[in-house]
Amino acid sequence: MALRFLAAGLVVGMLTGSVLAAEPARAPTVKTPAPPGPPKVTVTLLSEAASIEPGASFWVGLRQRIAPGWHTYWTNPGDSGEPPTIDWTLPAGWQAGPLVFPQPERMPVGPLMSYGYTDEVVLLTRLTAPAGVPTGSPVTLRGHAAWLVCEKICIPEEAEVALTLPVMLGRAAPGAGASAIERTRRAVPGPSPWPATLRATPETVTVSVAAPGLEPDRIGKVLFFPDRWGVIDHAAVQEVSIDREGITLRAARGLLPEGAGSDLDGVLVIREKLDQGLVSQAFTIKAVAAGPGSGPSLSLLAAMGLALAGGLILNLMPCVLPVLSIKALALVGYAEASPGLVRRHGLVYTVGVLSCFTALAGALLALRASGAQIGWGFQLQSALVVTALAYVLFTLALSLSGLLVIGGHLTGLGQGLAARPGYAGSFFTGALATVAATPCTAPFMGAAVGYALTQPPVAALAVFEALGLGLALPFLALSLVPAWRRLLPRPGPWMARLSQALAFPLYASVAWLVWVVSRQAGPDGVALVLVGLLLIAFGAWLHHVARRAAPRWRRVATGLALASAAAAIALAPLAAAGPPSTATTGGPGGAAWEPFSPGRLAELRAQGRPVFVNFTAAWCITCLVNERVALRSPAVAETFARKGVVYLKADWTSRSAEIASVLDSFGRSGVPLYVVYPSRPGHPVAPEPRVLPQILSEGTIIDAIEKEIL
C-alpha cells in the first residue's frame, strides 16, 4: 500500500491544466495574428522531497520551459511585463511562502529593458506541512500558476499545477525535482556581506558597494537589478568601476522624483572571469539612501568634532588613564612652581601627543596608499609591537606599584619613564599616552576614523590631529588654567595609594596584550612574552635592591638587572616570530581543515584524494568575508565530507615563499585564491586544478565540488 503511494508520489509534476487565456481578439475585421496554438511556456511542479514529513518544510519549484525567443519575467519585470504568480490551493493547515526568484537576465527590447528569464527557470516556494498531517494517505498540492510570456508580442498564460506526494514519518528522500531545485537555490541571490549606499543627482543614481580588495581585472561584469521601479532607469547603461574600496555603479535616474530618497533593495550580479569562463553570482543588497545632502555623509568639521570628543573619552581608557594620572600627580607637585613652567610642560605634552599621532596617521595613510588593507590599530597587527607595548606598560605598572623607582626620589610618586623631570618627560608622556590609546576605540572615534580613511591625506591628518588634541586637552587645560589646578587636592600620602591603585588598570592592559599575542603567535609566543615580563620584574627587583646595597654589590645587581632587561628585549622578536597567526579558526559548523604545504598537497594528490585549497590571510578582508559567508557553512562542510575533499588552508598572513610560488603558478600575487584539485581515481594523469571566483558563495563552492569531483 505504502509502496503504491510512494509510486504515486514519484509521479511529480502533473500538469493538469492547459493554457486558458490567449483567446482570439474580438475585433473581427482587423487582422489579429491570434497567438499560435500551443502555449509558449510549459510548466511542471517539482518537489525536492519524495514524501511529506509531518510538520516539516520543503521546497517545491514551478519549472517554466520557455519557447526559444520568448521570455518570462523577474519579480521586477523592468520597463514592461508582469512577474509570474502562483495561487496555492492547499489542504487545511498547510503554509506556502512567497515565490523565490533566481537571478534574472537583462533583456533589451528595442529602447526598453526587461528583466527575466529565457529557456528554462524554476521558481521556488517553501511549503510547510502541518504537524498533524496523517500518514498513510497521499496529499495533493494544487496551485494556479499565471505568467506573462513575451517575444515581440506578449501572451498571458496560466495553468493548474498539482503534485501528489505520500506522507511518511522521518526525513524525506530526495524527490525527482531535487537536483533542479538545488541548482536553482544556488542561483537565488544570497545576502550580501557588504554595506551599500545610494546617492542621487538630478540625472544619475550611484550605487556604491563596499566590497574592498576585489581584483578588477577578473571581474567580467557587474549588474544591478533594482527591486522597484522609478529609482534607476532600467534601460540605461550601468557604468561600473571597481577599485580598492569596492564597486561603484552609475546609471541614469528613474522617473520617480522622490525615488532615490529611500533605501533601494536589489540584486547585484557579479560575473567573474575564470579560466573555464564566466561564473555568475548574485547577492541581495540594500543600498541605503545617502539622504538629500548627497555629498559625503559627514563633513570634515563634523568629523573633527567627533574626533575631538573621541580623543577626550580616550583619556578615560584603562590603558591611558594611569599614564595621564602620573602626569596629573606631577602637576600637584609643580603646583608651587612657576605657572610658566607648568604651562610649558602642558604644551610640550601636547606636542608629544600630536607628533605621535602625526607619525602613526602618516604611517597608516602611507601604508594604505601602497595598497595595504589596514585600519586604525594596524600597529597592533604586529606581535612585536604588541609585545613591546606589553613590556612598556608592565614596566610602568611596576613603577606605579612602587617596585621600580627610576630617577631617585623615594617620595616621587612612582615616577617611571614618563615622570622623568624636564620637558623630555612631558613629551614622552604624550607619546606614551598616544601609543597606549591606539588600541582603544572610543565611541565617536570609529565614525571619525572611518571618515578620515576615505579622505585625501590632508583632511585625514586634520581628523587625526583633532583626535590627538582631544586626548591632550584635559592635561593641557589643567596646565594652562591655574584656577583649575587649585581644584587638585593637596599633596599627601594619598598620592602613593592612588598611584598604586592605578597600576592595576595597567596590569589589566598587559593581560589583554598577552592575550592578543596568544592570537598572533600561539602558546609559545605567550610563554616567551611571559618569560620576558618575568625578567623585567626580576630586573626591577634587582634594581630596587641595588639602591640600598654596598657599592660592590650594587654594581653586580645593576649589571644583572640590565642583563635581565636586555634578555627580555631579546626575547621579544622570538616571541613575535612564533607560529604565524591563522586567518580564522575553523569556527563552529565549519569544515575541518589542515595547514597547507606543497608536500602535503602532492601527497594527497598522489593518493588520488580531491583537495580544496584556501589561500587566505588574516589581513585580507575579502578572505574573511568569504570564510564567514561561504566556507564556514555547514552545507559546504557536508559537501566536503560527502565527496571526501581534503580542505587545506594556506595562510599568507606572514608571507611565505612556499605559498608565494604556488600563488605565482596561478598568476596571482596575493590572496584570496581558491583552488579545487579534482581527482579521478584510476586516471593516469591528474586533472587540472580549477580556480574558483575570488568572491565565494556557498553555491559556488558546492557547484564546483559537485562538478569537478565525481
Binding site: 481578439a25 475585433a27 511585463g81 527590447v109 528595442g110 529602447p111 526598453l112 513575451c150 515581440k152 522609478g230
Partner: protein, 217 residues
C-alpha cells in the same frame, strides 16, 4: 570663488545646455531611434504633430486651454484588451470627453509589428470597440511616443489647461491582464482628471506603467 572657477562653471553650464538642446533635437529627428530625456511631469508637455486617421495633422499645441489625455495603445496587447473588453477604457473616454477633455489615442507600433494599423483599420477598431476618443493618431515612426517616453500599452498621460504634463503612468493600480481586476482598481487617470477639474494638484502624478512594450521600430 576665483574668476577662473566662475568661467569654468559658466562653460560647464553652457556645455550642459548645449548637450540638452542637442539631445532634444536628436529625439525629434525621426531617423534616430535615440532615447532622449522624455517629457517630465511638472514641466510643459512637449509639442508634437501627428497625422490622425483622417489624414489631417493634429498638433498638441492646438488644444492649448483644454485638458488633454494621451493614451498609447496596441489593440492586440492583452493589457489593452483588458481595458477595452471590460469597457473600462471606452467608459473613461466618454466620461472625459463629456467634460470637454480632449482624448488622443496614439498608436506607435511601427509597420509590421503588433498593433500597427492603417487609418481605415484604426477607424474600424474605434467603431467595433465602441470607443470614444477625440482622435486616433498614427505615430508609426514613434516620434511622439519617444518624446513622451511611452514604454507600455496602455501608457497614459494627462496635460492640464496650461499645457503642463500633470500625470504619466499606468491607467490604474492593478498591473495585470485580468479583466476581473478592473472593478476594484484605483484609476489614476480619473483621479488626475478630477484633480485638474477641481484645480488641485494631482495626488499621484507618476506611476509605473504596466502592459506590453510599445512596438517601436
Amino acid at each position: 570663488m576665483t574668476p577662473e572657477e566662475l568661467t569654468r562653471r559658466r562653460f560647464l553650464t553652457r556645455a550642459a545646455a548645449g548637450a540638452l538642446v542637442a539631445g532634444t533635437v536628436s529625439a525629434l529627428l525621426p531617423a534616430r531611434p535615440a532615447w532622449a530625456a522624455p517629457a517630465k511631469v511638472g514641466e510643459a508637455a512637449p509639442g508634437f504633430t501627428v497625422n490622425a486617421t483622417n489624414g489631417s495633422p493634429v498638433s498638441l499645441a492646438s488644444y492649448k486651454g483644454k485638458v488633454v489625455v494621451l493614451e498609447w495603445t496596441n489593440h492586440e496587447c492583452p493589457y489593452v484588451r483588458k481595458h477595452y473588453e471590460s469597457g473600462n477604457m471606452q467608459g473613461l473616454q466618454r466620461e472625459a470627453t463629456g467634460q470637454g477633455v480632449v482624448w488622443l489615442t496614439l498608436i506607435s507600433s511601427s509597420e509590421g509589428t503588433q498593433g500597427y494599423v492603417t487609418p481605415p483599420q484604426a477607424d474600424e477598431l474605434t467603431t467595433s470597440r465602441n470607443a470614444a476618443p477625440t482622435a486616433v493618431l498614427l505615430d508609426t515612426k514613434g516620434v511622439a511616443g519617444k518624446l513622451y517616453g511611452a514604454t507600455n500599452t496602455p501608457h497614459m498621460y494627462v496635460v492640464d489647461k496650461a499645457g503642463m504634463l500633470v500625470y504619466a503612468g499606468a491607467i490604474d493600480d492593478r498591473p495585470t491582464s485580468r479583466r476581473a481586476d478592473v472593478p476594484g482598481a484605483n484609476n489614476y487617470v480619473r483621479a488626475a482628471l478630477d484633480a485638474v477639474a477641481a484645480g488641485q494638484p494631482v495626488k499621484t502624478p507618476i506611476t509605473r506603467a504596466y502592459g506590453c512594450t510599445v512596438k517601436y521600430s
